[in-house]
């Protein structure tokens, strides 16, 4: 692999729902080990963009290329559906805002983490359980809960379990949609700490969609600011947040400061 070639390359991506343009003409590159934050208020097209990037929504226009381990940069929508589904449960991870969408709520924590391993052929119960335990520890969960179903967990714990479930196959790229949304502030802080640690330790590449600039500052190397489906500003996180150029970004930043 060429050290200079990006992990993900997006070119002129647009998506419309009927006549409504949800996101328009987005282009960027993401390199290995980089964390990109996509910020903007709700309705700005962030989640649509994330769905298009993560092979879950065919964009109306544009190309999304990913550096597949065996064939280099490839248009992900040229892959067959099973290839895309395989990618999604091996080399990629998707952490949903609502854990209900990302977890099997009536399957035990261990089963939730082990599912990806079994999907790629793991057939040793002891080893699967061992790996699940390792990951539950990594996300700071009580091992005594390994056989409990997440429907009985707190929101923060569900989110940690979702992260473990995604990272267990050591994905290279993780998509996160408001990973701390809907959590109490103190729970958010712990989760952010955990995420920051994991991203560094595992040298993860990630795209994080959030409306929360504090989350963006803590996790992202670079930021992309979206408004009405368009990217209005990009740059290094500190640069964008400390010296915003676009009036919308300025408004976003100032509104946070006022809080």
């Amino acid at each position: 692999m060429n050290a200079m070639s990006p992990l993900l390359r997006v070119h002129n991506l647009s998506h419309a729902f009927g006549s409504l343009l949800a996101c328009s003409d987005v282009s960027f590159e993401l390199h290995s080990g980089e964390v990109l934050g996509v910020v903007g208020e709700s309705g700005s097209g962030k989640t649509t963009l994330l769905n298009c990037l993560s092979a879950r929504l065919v964009p109306t226009n544009g190309i999304v290329e990913y550096d597949l381990r065996d064939r280099g940069l490839t248009d992900i929508y040229s892959l067959s559906e099973p290839e895309r589904r395989f990618l999604l449960r091996t080399d990629w991870g998707v952490v949903m805002q609502n854990p209900r969408d990302g977890l099997r709520m009536s399957i035990s924590a261990g089963g939730n983490v082990g599912e990806r391993l079994m999907a790629v052929g793991a057939r040793h119960y002891g080893e699967i359980r061992g790996t699940a335990e390792e990951w539950l520890e990594k996300v700071e969960m009580d091992l005594g809960r390994i056989d409990d179903a997440p429907k009985h967990f707190s929101g923060g714990m569900q989110q940690r379990l979702q992260i473990a479930r995604n990272l267990v196959t050591k994905p290279r790229l993780v998509f996160m949609d408001e990973p701390t949304g809907g959590l109490d502030v103190s729970v958010q802080a712990r989760l952010l700490d955990l995420l920051r640690g994991l991203v560094r330790e595992l040298k993860l590449s990630a795209i994080i969609v959030t409306h929360d600039l504090a989350v963006a500052r803590l996790l992202a190397d670079r930021l992309m600011v979206m408004k009405d489906g368009k990217v209005v500003e990009t740059g290094l996180t500190d640069q964008v947040l400390d010296d915003p150029h676009h009036p919308y970004t300025q408004l976003l930043v100032s509104s946070v400061l006022q809080v």
């Binding site: 559906e81 079994m118 999907a119 057939r123 040793h124 119960y125 390994i146 056989d147």
Partner: protein
């Protein structure tokens, strides 16, 4: 179309004559066109072992869930020279087995038998015979629910994708959950199998005791689901593996007792309640197998006369009674 069929159709306007139409039905009830359609589906099923082939199932004169799929398969492959055996729960004399046997004796006028070795076709519900079958025989299984993934994924469209893409991780998760919760895989029947390393398949509600028989079985196995309109097959000598974990290998049921009638040690046993104070005994579920062993002089712990009285009461005393 045969002449008698025309007669049956012509009689639609004269309901008083309805009882005479019984003789107007085609050989083995289904019309030849339908049988051809079903045979084509069977061929496809044999070519892709374990794959569920959708077929235009017909309404049979027996209720859905009572073996209409198996009956349609049997009706499509049976010829005048065939000898048919029908079992339910392993026994030839259970009401449903009797009823289906009666149906084919009446509509196809074929020989019927209770002897496993004499049958060219055996239609069964919930059991695989204890006696080995041969390449010259066909085993037809009645299937209530063909989709092994149904309990995990209710959507048909999604299930078909999971099969097409061989995405069976979720099935393995359900076994993982069993071990995590119970210490063992808590599935005792309809135990899922991988056929020819490709398709996940439900072996129908046979007890898992019978699963090992399916592997490299000399006889052709045909599975018919009438209500769900699916046919699938396992050709002779095909690899059939019951799902498990390396450190929790698949195991079959075992009994501490032997058959009280014939003394067999290695058969699937039914529990027979003897009184309301917990008294019970175990007898072979395969009634023909048990009767044959007794005819050969084997006996179990029940004394000779008691065994004979019991066998007479349940009609399992005539190993050679045939059609």
């Amino acid at each position: 179309m045969t002449g008698t069929q025309t007669a049956a159709v012509a009689e639609t306007a004269a309901p008083a004559a309805a009882e005479t139409t019984e003789d107007g039905y085609n050989f083995a009830y289904l019309d030849e066109q339908t049988k051809r359609m079903i045979r084509r589906c069977i061929l496809k099923a044999v070519a892709v072992p374990g794959y569920q082939v959708p077929f235009g199932g017909r309404e049979m004169p027996l209720p859905y869930g009572w073996g209409t799929g198996g009956m349609q398969v049997t009706a499509s492959i049976i010829g005048a020279n065939d000898t048919l055996k029908v079992i339910d729960q392993g026994a030839d004399d259970t009401t449903n087995a009797v009823n289906i046997r009666r149906f084919f004796a009446r509509t196809a006028d074929v020989e019927t038998t209770e002897t496993t070795g004499e049958a060219s076709i055996i239609q069964t519900r919930h059991r695989v015979p204890e006696d080995p079958m041969t390449e010259d025989q066909i085993l037809v299984l009645q299937v209530p629910q063909p989709e092994p993934l149904r309990s995990l994924e209710p959507r048909e469209i999604e299930c078909r994708k999971m099969h097409a893409y061989k995405e069976y991780g979720l099935m393995q998760v359900s076994l993982y959950e069993d071990i995590a919760r119970f210490g063992e895989i808590a599935t005792s029947y309809s135990y899922p199998v991988m056929v020819n390393d490709r398709y996940l398949m439900s072996p129908t509600p046979i007890p898992k005791f019978d699963n090992p028989k399916l592997d490299s079985y000399p006889a052709l196995q045909l599975y018919g689901a009438g209500r769900e309109k699916r046919i699938y097959a396992i050709p002779p000598y095909t690899k059939v593996k019951s799902l498990d974990f390396d450190d929790h290998p698949f195991q079959v049921q075992q009994w501490e007792e032997n058959c009280a009638l014939c003394g067999a040690e290695d058969t699937f046993l039914d529990e027979v309640i003897l009184d309301d104070r917990g008294g019970k005994m175990y007898v072979c579920s395969d009634s023909h197998y048990c009767a044959r062993r007794r005819a050969e002089g084997h006996s179990g712990k029940l004394s000779g006369s008691a065994a004979a009285a019991y066998a007479a009461a349940v009609g399992a005393d005539q190993p050679e009674k045939g059609a």
